[in-house]
Symmetry: C2
Subunit: 388 residues, 2 copies
């Protein structure tokens, strides 16, 4: 707690934030989805940090990754021990400076952290949707976010920023609503999943669906498919790290012992770390949401969906100034994938800065403290804000 | 069948082979294991190809990988459609030329393809061991193989050759029985698993143990933990491929359709491929064996077990001439791990050839047709055979 109070006092956190909700039902009372199905009413949980300026020219929309939420920075209460997921980057004087910018972050649809998803109540039955929830896409998530912007009467975004699946939403924003987006920062992301990324997601999904508690997705009110979800998370978690970071962090160290046990069960530190991550995850995330959001990520294919198969075409309507960043040790969305998007942007004469950050931490590096990314973001945002 | 007959006729296969068994019970009727436990009696399934020469100087011991077996080459019968697992490399005139060498391959203990493992009958209870089977190590596997060599009255090996977990056995042979091993070929292997490799194995094991049919390992006679084992195999299978090979082989192609289905289930080709691999695997492999053999691989640490923590020390008693090969796209046992072992061998003034083969197929590349590896092996073996 003293650590939290200190942070409050020294003014480096946005302090207390509040989760808000916006519920919409577009005519005819539904959100039309890419699949052809429709969904409604739709609720979005969102949070804001900083102050909207008079001409509404300082809005930054932050898009969260697979299992993130709207709680991007600050604390819900004085008693709250844990800040938002990008506290290191969002706050007074930080890379995304809330003394200067008005930050919005909303939970994606399909998720389970306040926005409508498979664990929400299906108005047709009065029970949770479960797998009656329609398949959604990155595009559907972004269309819902657009409705939130309309509700907040924001028609221009200084920047859209996000890593991983959040970066996919960034790319979707730029191509779907090009007039609205002044600048964009896709971090550690891709314009489409490789077969490798799809493969890992599919095995993780299989693991959930193989759990007998999954019950075809209608497990609410009963036992949850915790074992399957924990294994799915462990698989995912490995892909967020790197050979080097795991070597540095764990190596072959044993957990609480000096010799091999010659028994099954967590014995190497890396094993108990993964089990801990799996068990922590099941407390905060819904198994069906994991299925829906990973599927949306697998479906995302910017070239197919916006360019008739051509990535160059997909970016042809964009007007945003871009900052693209990848990490050397990210093997889930390797740098070559960022380079492909940068190349396609440049062929459209877009203003693009690209940086491959040398870091050993793998895909998750964008979530870790790193002054290089912070400085890159700070400089980029100043440029687009003051030049604007 | 015509394909098979052709191969028989043109003399490029060793033809019909027979699985043989050797059962031993060392005094006092047990095999002493590295864990301190003991096991007995122990049966080993083995096969041979080629002809043992007069002075027994042409023996090549091939060590199989995680889920392999003794059936290294040839066919069990005229009706047999599928040859042994390394048919491409082992046969008349091939890289490992059975016109010249006498090849032996035995199933490792802990496995389920004829040698004693968790699905074997525990003589104390008359029922399958299940998880009463003791934890075994690479060293225990090799000690059992040594008993087979004694039984066959072979006291010198022209070469020991193996990839992956087979390569670990190669390294163990060279350090445990240095006087017996004239040359050695560790392929696509490592002297110890990285945290990344342990992590994947542990998640695969968790997947099996989370299957309610696993029943603490005592599932024989009832439903098998097929779902868990299939997922474990899928996880493993991804690590045997590479980003590039999966991109080439599958990309984002859809299975039997031109548009997204917006349903869960295998839809991308890579998804149905993995499910096929998982389902094929459960027909031939035992879930407990998967647990035991992956654990043995995780435990393997040549420096710790033979060098007091030093890899240089571990190789100090070796006398073998080495051919070490790694693959550029193998991210499970990356080239830097082979280079570490080569460096330690050279510090002992051992005769080492090292080759990093440029191939996109990932870890499994050593099992695929490749004239480069075949030529390397042919040349290396000729050198040690005729110079000897």
């Amino acid at each position: 707690m003293s650590e939290y109070t200190d942070r409050q006092q020294d003014g480096t956190t946005v302090g207390i934030v509040k989760k808000q909700f916006f519920t919409f039902a577009q005519p005819p009372d539904r959100l039309d989805l890419e699949s052809g199905a429709s969904l409604g009413p739709v609720s979005l949980a969102y949070e804001t940090c900083g102050t909207l300026n008079g001409d509404k020219s300082n809005v930054i929309l932050i898009l969260h990754a697979l299992t993130g939420d709207s709680h991007v920075a600050g604390y819900y209460s004085q008693q709250d021990a844990k800040p938002g997921w990008w506290e290191i980057m969002v706050g007074p004087g930080k890379g995304i400076d809330t003394d200067r910018y008005f930050v919005i972050c909303s939970n994606i649809i399909g998720s389970c952290c306040g926005s409508t998803g498979p664990s929400s109540t299906d108005p047709d039955t009065g029970r949770p949707y479960g797998t009656n929830f329609p398949l959604i896409t990155i595009s559907d998530m972004v269309k819902a976010q657009k409705a939130l912007m309309d509700h907040l009467e924001i028609d221009s975004l200084l920047s859209v920023i996000g890593g991983s699946v959040g970066g996919m939403q960034v790319l979707e924003w730029c191509t779907r609503y090009p007039e609205m987006v002044k600048s964009a920062v896709p971090l550690a992301t891709t314009t489409r999943h490789s077969a490798l990324a799809i493969a890992f997601n599919e095995v993780a999904r299989q693991s959930i669906m193989a759990d007998p508690n999954w019950e075809g997705g209608h497990y609410y009110g009963g036992h949850k498919p915790d074992m399957g979800l924990a294994i799915a998370r462990m698989i995912g978690h490995i892909t967020y790290l790197s050979d080097e970071s795991m070597r540095t962090k764990f190596g072959r160290r044993l957990q609480n012992r000096s010799e091999l046990s010659f028994e099954f069960g967590a014995e190497f530190e890396v094993e108990s770390y993964l089990q801990y991550q799996g068990n922590k995850f099941i407390e905060r995330f819904d198994a069906n949401s994991f299925l829906y959001v990973t599927k949306a990520a697998d479906y995302f294919d910017l070239a197919e969906q916006h360019g008739g198969g051509s990535l160059v075409n997909a970016f042809s309507r964009c007007k945003a100034k871009f900052l693209v960043a990848s990490y050397t040790s990210d093997w889930l969305y390797p740098t070559y994938q960022s380079k492909e998007m940068v190349k396609a942007m440049k062929k459209n004469d877009l203003d693009v800065s690209f940086c491959e950050i040398d870091a050993q931490w793998g895909h998750d590096a964008f979530l870790l403290p790193d002054s290089r990314l912070e400085n890159l973001l700070r400089g980029f945002l100043k440029g687009v804000y003051y030049d604007g």
